[in-house]
Amino acid sequence: MSNQQQPLIEINNLKQFFPVQQGFLRKVVGYVKAVNDVNLNIWSNETLGMVGESGCGKSTLGRTILRLIEPTDGKVYFNYDDERYDIFAMHRKQMRAIRANMQMVFQDPFSSLNERMTVLDNIIEPLVVNQIGNRRERESRAESLLLQVGLRKEHLRRYPHSFSGGQRQRIGVARALSVSPKFIVADEPVFALDVSIQAQILNLLTQLQDDYDLTFLFISHDLGVIRYVADRIAVMYVGKVVELASRDKVLENPLHPYTEALLSAVPRVTRDRRSRIVLKGSPPDPSDLPDGCVFHTRCQYAEDVCRTKVPELRELETGHEVSCHLAESLSLRGVLD
């Protein structure tokens, strides 16, 4: 959080609803509310860790910020060079220019690279699309990037199929870096990798962040990974951010019952049998949300107000936001007590 005046990314009331169609006429019968009114700032040079279970909308949020999908409603601003860019209001050409500053590292290193292109062509693809440099400049850029992500020059001419998962993810990282972005959305970048390789990639990303002053939105369901990389943590549940604070606050002093349950559920390397909070059932269907708080159906503390009134995300302590009616009165368990 070096630049306190203005965040690099401002997300205001972002909504991403997917229509549910039915019947011969494809009549819209409802909406899957994948991202449901999210407000979030991402500061320059920080890593914002985004956690949540599958289907909570964390990947959709990442993609919508980069405008890989058009939003239903809301704004995303990108503040850069004293300019404020309204991402969703830009034309194609402007968008292309700005997208060179915003890149994505994908989850699956086996499908995110083009198998028919050499490693070189994969890496310089963003440069070609953005019309940056000539062939020779692009090649030398690819070469230096490849070295930085821990591969060798001779790998440039090979095809992705001859690489392991960890190496492919390195290539994916090199591709994202080729256009010298400011902001990277990393969507479960270590999910498909073995643990020993996972550690290599995590260390690589941290190193690159230092070298290039990168800002990350790091999406993962693995709280251990998030704890390792994130400065702040946002917890998402069924399309909403339910808690947002610094890493240590979220982990040690959670204010939302869902965060508490999530932390409690994570298996630990310890032999003490903890009294674990086991949530009942599964998250609600995002196309058929319950009234009131989205979490009340599984919350052990839920009261009447939770069933009727939607809680707002509010700043309960400095820098610690939570959307829970009862946050003041609950004393929840974190990981370190």
Partner: protein
């Protein structure tokens, strides 16, 4: 460990696959045992042979190309009597192993999405499993038993849900139904191959809790295969660490967590980000797991090991198993007293056999 004989004892198991590109030694001299009522955690990265070991026990290895080349899989129903049955010697398609499969030993798989056929109801598929092994039950009894099983694994409204199709169940529910089916004949041993890998943490917690409760109730043994160290440490009594078809280290859970000996185990422990405790830098294991045709001779971990000793670790014969402290086995020359540079760990002075 008591004087009781173990339920399952695997000795020097070797399962090879003969492929056009050469022989793949998926499991190459694996030994371990599981006692009655205990949980053994088998941990390792992809390609370490943990799943092939499990499939070998049930004789589910497709043949050709797969084959159990050597070794014994001794199975004892009664811990008092030494009348072990060697599963490795049975014909994989004959009555005897089919009786054991699902009845004495059953298995749950990683993918709850594909373990049920899509065309039949969950109930019918569980009833079919019961019908195979408990032929004396009538249709009505089978149905009743199925509903009981579904209730036992915590499926709400089991009476109605028994008629649901697999696609109507969520991932966690399907994994519960899978467990219900696996437990339908009260097996001695449940082999759980990455049972929670595709599930969310809150659902994972439900399933792990369920497995522990069921184990307490039925005193069955569990062989839990996973790549998740935390899951293993919460669930297991013993841990076996596998790497490239071999057991690198085997010990009681506390022992192996507090005092890992094999450089691979140490490397694994250091490369996993934890949810609690001090945040220490991750130290990855260098390189990556070699492909099945590039396995080093001698110690299979040699190509990635920071403590590689030239002239010792690259000797072509398999690394012996050293018992560094009672019940703590490690396959690494560092613990050989006769090797120069060996016995790095000065604390463990207990002599090996």
């Amino acid at each position: 460990m008591s004087n009781h004989l173990p339920l399952l004892e695997i000795k020097n198991l070797k399962t090879y696959f003969e492929l056009d590109s050469g022989t793949v030694r998926a499991v190459d001299g694996v030994s371990f045992s599981i006692s009655h009522g205990e949980t053994l955690g088998v941990i390792g990265e992809s390609g370490c042979g943990k799943s092939v070991t499990a499939h070998s026990i049930l004789r589910l290895i497709p043949s050709p190309p797969g084959r159990i080349v050597d070794g014994e899989i001794l199975f004892r129903r009664d811990k008092q009597k030494d009348d072990a049955l060697d599963l490795a010697k049975l014909h994989p398609k004959k009555e005897q192993i089919r009786h054991i499969r699902g009845n004495d030993i059953s298995m749950i798989f990683q993918e709850p999405m594909t373990s049920f056929g899509p065309l039949h109801t969950i109930g019918n598929q569980i009833m079919e499993a019961i019908e195979m092994h408990q032929t004396e039950l009538s249709k009505e009894q089978r149905r009743k038993r199925t509903v009981e099983l579904l209730e036992m694994v915590g499926i709400p409204n089991a009476e109605q849900r028994v008629n649901a199709y697999p696609h109507e169940f969520s991932g966690g529910m399907r994994q519960r139904a899978m467990i219900a089916m696996a437990l339908s004949c009260s097996p001695y041993l449940l082999i759980a191959d990455e049972p929670t890998t595709s599930l969310d943490v809150t659902i994972e917690a439900q399933i792990l809790e369920l497995l522990q409760d069921l184990q307490d109730q039925q005193s069955m043994s569990i062989m839990l295969i996973t790549h998740n160290l935390a899951v293993v440490s919460e669930m297991s009594d013993y841990i076996s660490v596998m790497y490239l078809g071999k057991v690198a280290e085997f010990a009681e859970t506390d022992r192996i967590l507090d005092n890992p000996l094999h450089p691979y185990t140490k490397g694994l422990w250091r490369s996993i980000p934890q949810i609690e405790g001090e945040i220490t830098p991750l130290v990855p294991i260098k390189g990556s797991v070699p492909g099945p045709h590039d396995i080093p001779t001698g110690c299979v971990f040699a190509s990635r090991c920071e403590q590689f000793m030239e002239g010792i670790c690259d000797r072509p014969q398999a690394v012996p198993n050293y018992e560094v402290e009672p019940g703590h086995f490690v396959a690494c020359y560092l613990y050989d007293e006769d090797v120069e540079g060996g016995r790095v760990d000065e604390q463990s002075t207990t002599a090996s056999d």
